[in-house]
Amino acid sequence: MSTTSFETTAPLVAAPARSRLPLHIVVFLAPALLIYSIFSIYPLVDTIRLSFYAGDQTGAQHFAGLDNFRMLLSDPTWSGQFWNALRNNLFFFGVHMVVQNGIGLGLAMLLSLPRLTGGSVYRTLIFLPTMLSVVIIGFVWQLMLNPLWGIAPSLLKAVGLGSFFGPWLGQESTALITISLISVWQFVGIPMMLIYAALINIPDDLLDAATVDGAGPFSVFWFVRLPLILPTLGVVSILTFVANFNAFDLIYAVKGALAGPNFSTDILGTFFYRTFFGYQLQVGSPTMGATVATAMLIVILIGVLIYLFGIQRRLQRHTF
């Protein structure tokens, strides 16, 4: 009884405080809120709404409940492509996590060596591709790897490795990893910069203390530096995850929306594009497109939630 009476009185207490919300705060918040609502929140919500509708040949839409999702996950015409795209996307993400972030960490370690000269030059050069357009990157790599007039086969031949060359972008077995590595090459500067910033933030005294304590370079890294940059590695991982599951442009630039050969480079982004806009013989479907988009949103949401509640809570930021 007493609790309910508290609950009923609470709004009465809160009401005058809320009505005193200063007008200027409302005025200052309004423009951002308005723009954000119109261009971000509304499309998002409307996409989710659309994913519950189905359209017919006339273009009329009617509520279909979870039918679209059922179709996406189990109807052979849709589910094969969806699972293929999801699998490829996971592979794409895996390559970035291991190769891009691994190399990024290694480069950051090298850059933070006290005796390194010309560090800022390396830093700029490695970061440069990040600022180039994906279309240019895709085009340039396609030219370089071209078996006929590309520079890669002759370069390999020059060092006696000519027999290793293959039409990597054209083979079903190698196309996805090749595209993943091109993307890694372009974006390795980002984890490098973030991790480098975290590394130079660790006071030298701490590393000296570990050295005096008898830790060799590897132990200093493993027991002192790595634990201290874990929060940054967490952020890098989640950024990689979100970027990879929203990726589209590189594959579209190199392989087109069909993500060939035989959909071997198809990821959720390209799959969504074909579904929504249609491509060649396939007719676009706004409602199925919205369903794929919502599925992507859910995949990313699950990943981010796992990170936020499973991982980030255990990582402690350290102040020095």
Binding site: V212, D213, G214
Partner: protein, 364 residues
Amino acid sequence: MADVSIHGLAKSFGPVDILRDINLTVEDGEFVVFVGPSGCGKSTLLRIIAGLESVSAGEIRIGGRRVNELPPADRKIAMVFQSYALYPHMSVYKNMAFGLKFAKTDKAEADRRVRQAAEILKLSALLDRKPRELSGGQRQRVAIGRAIVRKPSVFLFDEPLSNLDAALRVNTRIEIAKLHQELGATMIYVTHDQVEAMTLASKIVVLNHGRIEQVGAPLDLYRRPCNVFVAGFIGSPRMNFIKGEVRGISNQSVTIGFAGAEMKVDLSGKDLAVGDMVTVGIRPEHMAEQGADAIALEGRVDAVERLGEASYVYMKLASQDDVVVRAPGEAHIAAGDLFKAYFSPRSTHVFDAEGRSLRMDVKP
């Protein structure tokens, strides 16, 4: 336990010479303090002994063994950093045990040592805490504990008290002195604070611009500074320096005129000539408001600082020299008064034009 000896050591960072011609012996079990102004190379010298910096020339021996090529961990040293340098992600226990892991100490022995050190440093209740949950003084003790558990022959301290507040600083200073007595280990301690140096050291090394100015027991440096720099650096408030001139030289004494006064001091005059410029140094605590002593300087009082047990009288002489006098706490002196400060010629120091002490009993 070990002694430390340094021969002909020099260090430069690129073209900049930081340390030059350092020769020094630290006896086994001695408490040596490196003192000098900021940037004079104290930390660099300590880090060279620790093995964290290489040398440009010279040799370092610890316990008779040349250590130039040895990594820090093999030099039987432990270091306490100014910033404490505790590992923020490890508990107090793990911070202290970290070094033992690499020394391949067995688990039980490591545990015993950490708990024993924690006992000594009153950290037993805090072993599971992280450094950020500790106060400054507690962090300081963890840093010392981390050094103790390794049972080093030589302890190196780099300004360990400078991040503590004044009261804690005095306490910790006493704790460190006690620790030195209990452990009997060789300790090398860096500070820019001459009070710390005077109170802790069995031997003080005064550094300036990368050079050793003088080495000696605290009271030796106080009584017989070998040059103007040491004279000014040791003692608080600073020694008064007044320009003077040689007026006469006899067998065992020299007559010096300065600031309108004249005095006869026992000096060897053999390197002096009449008319040479000298610097006369008098410590504020060796001057008094009155006295039977023959010499007096008169001036007008600019300001009086009252500390309770003493008052510092800042006065300006007719010769425009500034002089500080340590007067009794209850002295009735006010700014604007005429003031006469008496002192004995025996308590003065005389330095030649290059700043070297002319007293016969001074050894550099």
